[in-house]
Amino acid sequence: MRWICPLLFFLVLPLQAWAWQGLFSLSVSAGGTPLDQVAPGPEYTIQAGDAWGLGVGVLIPVTDTSPTRYEAQISVGYHFSTAQQGDNEIAWRRIPLEGVYYYRNVEQKFRLGWGLIYSVGNDISAKGSNSSAKTDVDNALGWKLAADIVIPHPNTSDDMLSFGLHYNIINYNATSFSREASGNAIGIVLNMFWPESSQ
């Protein structure tokens, strides 16, 4: 049942393929369970939802109406957060695959979205005296809520930039964890869009 949403996301891909826009994103988020409370090893100050993030993806129009329309944004990113004291470093890394479905209001220049995050390649890496904290973390499926302000290109109707708040709802687990770690976090996301592929 939980795979129906990802399948629906991929169904939208061919619908308006000629009008895709590529995008690049930057993000920062914070929140969640402090990892040192669930993972083995020393104390360190990283929460499960903390991340600096980079991402690339595509924005696909789903409907062609105006001034309100729906669009899907599919992206892959790299999220990381580090804690360091001298040579002792701990890094929390993951690769989120995100699919967010937006309601877009072109006149009011905002969009609201909900979607899925599938986080893969999750691991806590450590070196120095913190190396006991090193562990792999299971892939995790979660949800995302988003609210963005969208700035259109001044000469065309394409999206140029979006800036907003995103809320991730996700839990992480590992065999070495004493319990599930909540990765729920609020973040600020900046998306930069390339011109439409049909132009």
């Binding site: 949403c5 629906l8 996301f9 169904l11 939208v12 619908l15 789903v62 409907t63 062609d64 109406t65 105006s66 001034p67 309100t68 329309r69 729906y70 479905y101 309601y103 209001n105 009011q108 905002f110 609201l112 909900w114 809520l145 609210a147 809320y167 709802i169 909540s182 729920n184």
Partner: protein, 234 residues
């Protein structure tokens, strides 16, 4: 945590439902410009010269017909079809039966050196025509969501709920000019609007929408032209 998520979801729903679904309407002025109803740029001398022109048509007269091709963005969305030309041919046959016109022939793009009125009059003159019937058109679509479109936020309904609507407006116009002295005998304009509700993910093509609206507009233009010709007693 659950309270936070509930507050976020409620804010979401409130902002979403207040956004509304609305059509943005049509810009008829822009369409009329595209259809060939040119805004005049003139001075007093030109007005005096226009008054000096006199009607000059023999009875019956020979008429050339030119369909002005769409330009710019319009050219990718519609073109004059054989069916449109056949409808105007019905009109000219009727004028022929009423002995208003003696001969009607089309001006092809290959025989005209430009699309301005003087070039078209020259091409008509080469055909020995007395009058030139110039037909133009322009169309526009307005796609918007209906109230059912609000269900699209759930994603799945976008594949089966007809929550989007498209209005298509096509304006067709016709002007009849004297080939010799550019006297304007008559103008006629007709517009047709069609609408269609569709499932959001499966949008109808502009070309198909324009075809239906254009067909209706040409039908109306034919009737309008017949009334104008009979009214002007050409």
């Amino acid at each position: 945590m659950k309270k936070t998520i509930s507050v976020l979801m409620l804010s979401f729903v409130a902002l979403y439902s207040l956004s509304g679904c609305q059509s943005k309407g049509f810009n008829r002025g822009e369409l009329q410009n595209l259809a060939g109803t040119k805004k005049p740029v003139f001075d007093d001398n030109e007005i005096k010269e226009a008054y000096k022109k006199k009607p000059n048509l023999p009875k019956p007269f020979k008429m050339a017909v030119y369909f002005a091709s769409p330009t710019g963005m319009q050219s990718s969305k519609w073109r004059w079809t054989d069916s449109d030309k056949a409808k105007i041919a019905e009109l000219t046959k009727e004028l022929n039966d009423q002995k208003v016109v003696s001969d009607v022939f089309p001006l092809l793009d290959s025989t005209v050196s430009g699309t301005d009125l003087r070039s078209l009059r020259l091409a008509a003159a080469k055909h020995q025509a007395d009058a030139l019937l110039l037909i133009g058109g322009a169309g526009s679509t307005d796609r918007y969501m209906t109230n059912w479109g609000l269900t699209y936020i759930l994603l799945a309904p976008v594949f089966f709920v007809p929550g989007s609507k498209v209005d298509t407006l096509f304006i067709a116009n016709a002007t009849l000019w004297d080939v010799k002295n550019e006297y304007l005998y008559l103008t006629a304009e007709a517009e047709a609007m069609t609408d269609q509700t569709y499932i959001g993910a499966f949008s109808p093509r502009d070309q198909d929408l324009f075809l239906e609206a254009k067909t209706q507009a040409i039908d109306k233009l034919k009737n309008e032209l017949l009334k104008m010709v009979q009214g002007n007693k050409l």
